[in-house]
């Protein structure tokens, strides 16, 4: 296992979303890859600037929906045809039109659970501890400030060099993020 770097990374604070996105693009041009932007609301351009594309969540939701659909229908089929068949006026045991409403509801239920649990799972939440919170100014990331953190695990990371680079982006401040 690789040795853990002495700090988590370096973090720059910006006032506006445009500054953060511009800084992130510059950092990417400079060759940094292991970094993350933090903002008080979703910024589409920021995820793009970091180079983050993820399309796994829709797939997870689709699989969840299919499981809910098949499971819901099979539950009714098994109950009505196999385990407890009731002959009512000679009607078919597998009376599929009347099984549709429940099948629909279980589809939505499992798909919605997959969406929420999938999102939390891929995001690694709940996460009781994260180093970025060691920077006291980071509390403003949920209010009105925008942060860019270049992580020490980045191959191009060098304490002095990265510090100088971040300062050249004209941030409000740059701070060390201890572990």
């Amino acid at each position: 296992m690789k040795r853990r770097p002495p700090i988590y990374g370096l973090m720059a604070e910006f006032d506006t979303p445009s500054d953060l996105v511009a800084a992130t693009l510059r950092a990417r041009e400079a060759g940094y890859r292991k970094m993350d932007g933090y903002s008080p609301y979703p910024i589409e351009e920021l995820a793009e600037a970091i180079g983050f594309h993820s399309s796994r969540l829709p797939l997870i939701v689709l699989i969840g929906g299919l499981i809910g659909c098949a499971g819901g229908y099979y539950l009714q089929y098994w109950v009505s045809v196999m385990d407890y068949p009731l002959n009512i006026g000679g009607r078919p045991l597998n009376s599929w039109p009347s099984f549709i409403p429940v099948t629909f509801e279980t589809t939505v239920l499992v798909a919605a659970l997959a969406a929420v649990l999938g999102m939390l799972g891929l995001n690694g939440l709940p996460m009781p501890y994260h180093p970025v919170f060691n920077v006291s100014r980071f509390a403003l990331a949920s209010r009105d400030r925008f942060f860019l953190c270049i992580e020490a695990t980045d191959p191009k990371f060098d304490h002095e060099e990265t510090m100088r680079f971040l300062k050249s982006l004209k941030p409000r401040s740059v701070s060390q993020v201890p572990h």
């Binding site: 006032d15 506006t16 979303p17 445009s18 993350d36 932007g37 933090y38 903002s39 008080p40 609301y41 979703p42 910024i43 351009e45 920021l46 995820a47 600037a49 970091i50 983050f52 993820s54 969540l57 829709p58 939701v61 539950l75 009714q76 109950v79 009505s80 385990d83 407890y84 009731l86 009347s98 099984f99 409403p101 429940v102 509801e105 279980t106 939505v108 239920l109 798909a111 919605a112 659970l113 969406a115 929420v116 999938g118 999102m119 939390l120 891929l122 995001n123 939440l125 709940p126 996460m127 009781p128 994260h130 970025v132 919170f133 509390a139 403003l140 990331a141 949920s142 209010r143 009105d144």
Partner: protein
């Protein structure tokens, strides 16, 4: 700090969805201060106290029900479905506006929904909670409602999946679960804001646990938005299915007045209609008490009045079609049912319902009515009453004249029926009070996104 831009996102000629001059910080502080720093208004204690007394009334009525049985209610042959079903349908309908605002208006990119979606979703949850009580208690043996669910049991029995009443179990429990998920997912970033902004230890820990370590990372936001959009896409057909299935409880039967194909769309429109009326009833006092006129502007109230007008017209069309089909079907029972509604013993309630639901909202054609807060509030209350009367008429008039005159009867609610109904309104209002006190009632992070300075300039 940069001077906030004075321009605001507006379509030309329309009032803004947020008053100009706000910044990320001012929006955050204003909404979170209601929970964290501002003194709880004295009216809060008074209002919560009164509604909590009604919760005690509910518990007493339910206790009495458990001890004595459903005989304390007014239901008897031939009217076996009384207040429990009326109130169930009424409450669950109210919930629909919340999902409509949070999901359908999101997909339609209606930005004005942002400042009302959070408490509309809360309203949905609480209305569904109130609605859920009724089917559980009207089963006769209220300690066995879990029999409604399919689970392996020693009796070797299963629910009858061909029955709309079993569909209802799945529809309502799915709706409650998905509404809760949607609401909670929407809350996560705001809980993180409250965690970061609370100065005392206990709230910080509680909000911190609920926020689950949210840190606003770009990658997280990306997946978050995706999940939120997918949930909205899933909730949209869900909300339509729920009231459709509720209407099938009636429409699948062969009772005159219930057995009609118009029921699903007519019920869904009625649900949205009643729900928006309830959003107005809640929004008007809340924006006045907490001075949120900047966020919940006249534009919001105007738009909601328009939706009430549109859905009200659909509902009025439903009444017309019911009467028309009574004549057109040439079925003596259908024909009698329609005439009995108009001229029979419940005729005053029927005409009151027409006045409340079909006539009263027509004043919203006037712009002056849509921008007058007292008019909006009064019409919203009239519509709520009208929608309750509609459910009363549908449930009771069809049942009280059975096919044979020898089994005709009347339905009169008892004091316990009223106590249970009033008790659920108390439960609803208490939960709203608690929500307003302990959670941000407007979505903070979504309000930030509609500020002009939220746009990234290249």
């Amino acid at each position: 700090m940069k001077e906030p831009l004075k321009t605001v996102i507006v379509e030309p000629g329309k009032p803004p969805i947020i008053e100009p001059g706000h910044t990320f910080a001012s929006v955050t502080d204003k909404i979170s201060s209601v929970v964290l720093t501002r003194r709880t208004p004295r009216g809060w204690y008074l209002g919560f106290g009164v509604s909590f007394v009604l919760v005690m009334v509910l518990l007493y009525a339910l206790g009495k029900l458990m001890v004595v049985g459903t005989g304390i209610w007014g239901v008897n042959h031939p009217v076996g479905w009384g207040f429990a079903i009326i109130n169930f349908v009424w409450w669950i309908g109210i919930g629909h506006a919340g999902t409509l605002i949070s999901a359908i208006l999101l997909l339609l990119r209606q930005e004005w929904r942002t400042s009302i979606n959070r408490f509309a979703e809360a309203m949905t949850l609480f209305a569904v909670a109130c609605a859920g009580i009724f089917p559980l208690i009207h089963v006769g043996r209220p300690w066995l409602p879990y029999w409604l669910f399919p689970y392996p049991n020693t009796m070797g029995l299963w629910p009858q999946f061909r029955s709309p009443l079993v569909w209802d179990v799945f529809a309502v429990s799915t709706y409650a679960t998905v509404s809760l998920l949607f609401w909670f997912v929407g809350l996560i970033p705001d809980l993180a804001t409250l965690r970061d902004r609370s100065r005392r230890q206990l709230p910080r820990v509680i909000y911190g646990i609920l926020a689950m370590g949210w840190r606003g990372s770009a990658m997280h936001w990306h997946r978050y938005e995706m999940a939120y959009l997918l949930l909205a896409g899933l909730s949209t057909p869900l909300v339509l299915s729920v009231h459709t299935i509720v209407s099938l409880d009636f429409a699948v039967s062969i009772i005159p007045g219930w057995h009609a194909t118009i029921f699903p769309p007519y019920f869904v429109a009625g649900a949205i209609y009643a729900g928006f009326a309830m959003v107005l009833i809640l929004a008007i006092p809340i924006r006045a008490i907490y001075r949120l006129e900047d966020f919940i502007t006249l534009r919001h109230l105007d738009n909601m009045a328009k939706i009430i007008l549109v859905t009200g017209l659909i509902v009025a069309y439903g009444y017309m079609m019911e009467a028309f089909m009574g004549w057109y079907s040439a079925n003596p029972y259908e024909e009698y049912m329609v005439l009995n509604r108009m001229r029979g013993p419940y005729a005053p309630l029927y005409w009151a319902l027409i006045a409340c639901n079909a006539l009263a909202p027509q004043v919203f054609w006037l712009k002056r009515a849509r921008s007058s807060i007292p008019v909006l509030f009064i019409i919203a209350i009239i519509v709520s009453i009208g929608m309750w009367l509609e459910r009363f008429i549908i449930v009771v008039t069809s049942l009280h004249r059975d096919f044979l005159p020898s089994s005709w009867g009347m339905y009169y609610p008892t004091v316990w029926d009223w106590a249970t109904f009033l008790g659920t309104t108390g439960l609803f209002v208490s939960l709203i009070f608690l929500f307003v006190r302990f959670l941000p009632m407007i979505s903070i992070f979504e309000m930030r996104t509609i500020l002009p300075q939220a746009r990234v300039e290249e």
